[in-house]
Symmetry: C2
Subunit: 337 residues, 2 copies
DNA sequence: TTGTAAGCGTTATCAG
DNA sequence: CTGATAACGCTTACAA
């Protein structure tokens, strides 16, 4: 009774003259099987080129050793470093990462969440807090653990491993103000959809208040994500009658766009205007002038997230929220006014 | 007989007072079901919050509407644009993309291939031609169609949608030589593991031969992938007694590293040395000076690959190889010697 | 240590 | 148009 197409457990069992149960054990608990039996089975597996059917396994075992990660975008490497670390850590623990991206669209994120859950993801890694409560209910109902990252909200009860976007930006803004800058601008991603962007915005406002500046004076440019968009927003700011002397950017990608546009306009950064980024992705070092920015511990964040999830799944350890520190990286795009 | 945990087809069937077959039909062929029945079922689905189990579905239907894409790296956005387009196109046709990355390690690629196949990928998108023939045999045995991309080899029989790396680089090198450059260097990724890198290398050599230069005179720096690595290689080249006047780079990431190092060394690009990239990713425009490079039609490549695969899977259309054109983008890092 | 057999949640064939 | 029912390939008590 040889199968025509791809070999199954049964085929292996037949070939090795054992039961399917034994083959299964060989695969999952090798030491629960007698050495010689194991050898026979492994030979059969090799000969047939057998490899287990994931769907069937998932269905029978009711777990997949797979963890889904859903990020807003795969472009521009904003999340790449962190994910890389996450995936490496998971691998160590025998888990596989599945990635999906949403293009910053909540609807798409919901789809992706459902899709990954339907695919049997044992847990999910999501970026930021903000999403329809319905989504969280769904996840809870399905019994899928979720770890949030890239943000840390001390008041939220949801487990997260990230950093305080507001505090980080506030610190940076405080420094900029201390350098004498008074005319400030912020180029930001959509604060309505993106809680990290919103928090960073709040950070700038808070720093202004504390310094006795009127937050209403902040030039605020909200824009889509991308180098072009950053450039366009910067262009609008520079067309203002009373130009800002320091332009914060919600992320390094926008900042690099701003830098490019400054060049196009014949403006010198930082002499004519200072530009400040956020994230410290590789781009920031390569940009010219090298970008002053807020360093996010991408690698550590990914690693710890992987660790937390793996331990939770394997040993049932509860996932404890963890706040990581950011730090200001002074490069060449910021000088006192 | 209500299920305790996540609802199943059976639960829906019970709730709607129909058979599981009918529910399944509602899901897959809505118009093969009477409108009122359909309504009942849909209500039940909504009430229970049912969503189909992917593994079970895959097992029963023997297809997943999922296509796997395996790329060398997710960092630096080299493949990001193309993948994005690929994924968008697939979505249009009702397919889902699953990504995996290999870190440029053949062993890891094999693992990922097996993993995606085990997960039931209906087809695979792979980068480049070069891999163990055993892998191709495995894929064939499993009946999994494969489309290659990011390369185009006219003599290979395997379906691919890409461009001719060698011809592209040769054209660029020809141009550089025509500008009077004689002392040439190439910073390349590992040509042993990476057929795109090897082809680009060959392109430079060929252009030299054609121009009557001795290919053996090419300064060749083979290095790992990354900005740091590009910088280090450039540094070694500049330490040479008889410096090259033009430095080709196997990709934009290496080129940007070279640019950074030039700055660090106090060298002016392009006055002191010309630098040439390959790929034309966003980085190339943002770099300073803006990078002269070979434009790869990322978007079109991804889109067409998605189209070809979707049609093949849906309508059984054969996948025909397609060669896309690259073009030289002259920006600010190359001048005549 | 190994085998038997009952699921796991769908799809799809075949009657009705 | 709808309902039984047999797969699909694997895991896991439970027995031997």
């Amino acid at each position: 009774m040889t199968s025509q197409s791809t070999p199954t457990l049964q085929d292996v069992a037949d070939a090795a003259n054992v039961s399917t149960a034994t083959v299964s054990r060989c695969l999952n608990f090798p030491d629960k099987v007698a050495p010689e039996t194991r050898q026979k089975v492994q030979d059969a597996i090799a000969v047939l080129g057998y490899s287990p059917n994931f769907g069937a396994r998932a269905m029978a075992a009711r777990r997949t050793n797979t963890i889904g990660a859903i990020i807003p975008t795969m472009e521009n490497a904003i999340f790449a470093r962190g994910l890389e670390a996450f995936q490496k850590e998971l691998r160590k623990h025998g888990f596989t990462m599945l990635v999906a991206s949403t293009g910053y669209q909540p609807k798409v994120e919901e789809e992706q969440i459902r899709s990954l859950v339907a695919r049997g993801a044992d847990a999910l890694l999501l970026i930021g807090y903000q999403r329809d409560p319905e989504v969280y209910r769904f996840l809870e109902a399905q019994g899928v653990p979720v770890l949030l990252t890239w943000a840390f909200d001390p008041v939220s009860a949801r487990p997260s491993i990230g950093f305080d976007n507001k505090a980080a930006m506030q610190e940076m803004a405080g420094k900029v103000i201390a350098m004498g800058h008074r005319k400030l601008a912020l180029i930001s991603a959509d604060t309505g959809l993106n809680d990290r962007a919103a928090a960073r915005y709040d950070g700038v406002l808070r720093a202004m208040s504390i310094a006795g500046l009127d937050p209403a004076q902040l030039y605020f440019e909200e824009t889509a994500y991308g180098i072009e968009e950053g450039a366009a927003a910067f262009d609008r700011l520079m067309a203002l009658p009373d130009r800002p002397t320091a332009v914060f950017c919600g992320n390094d990608v926008l900042a690099v766009g701003a830098l490019r546009q400054a060049r196009a306009l014949g403006l010198c950064v930082p002499q004519d205007v200072s530009v400040i980024g956020f994230d410290d992705i590789e781009l920031a070092q390569v940009a010219y002038p090298a970008l002053t920015t807020v360093h996010v511990p991408h690698h550590e964040m990914g690693r710890r997230a992987g660790q937390a999830l793996a331990r939770h799944l394997r040993d049932g350890e509860p996932m404890v929220p963890m706040q990581l520190r950011t730090r200001i990286i002074l490069r060449d795009t910021l000088i006192p006014v």
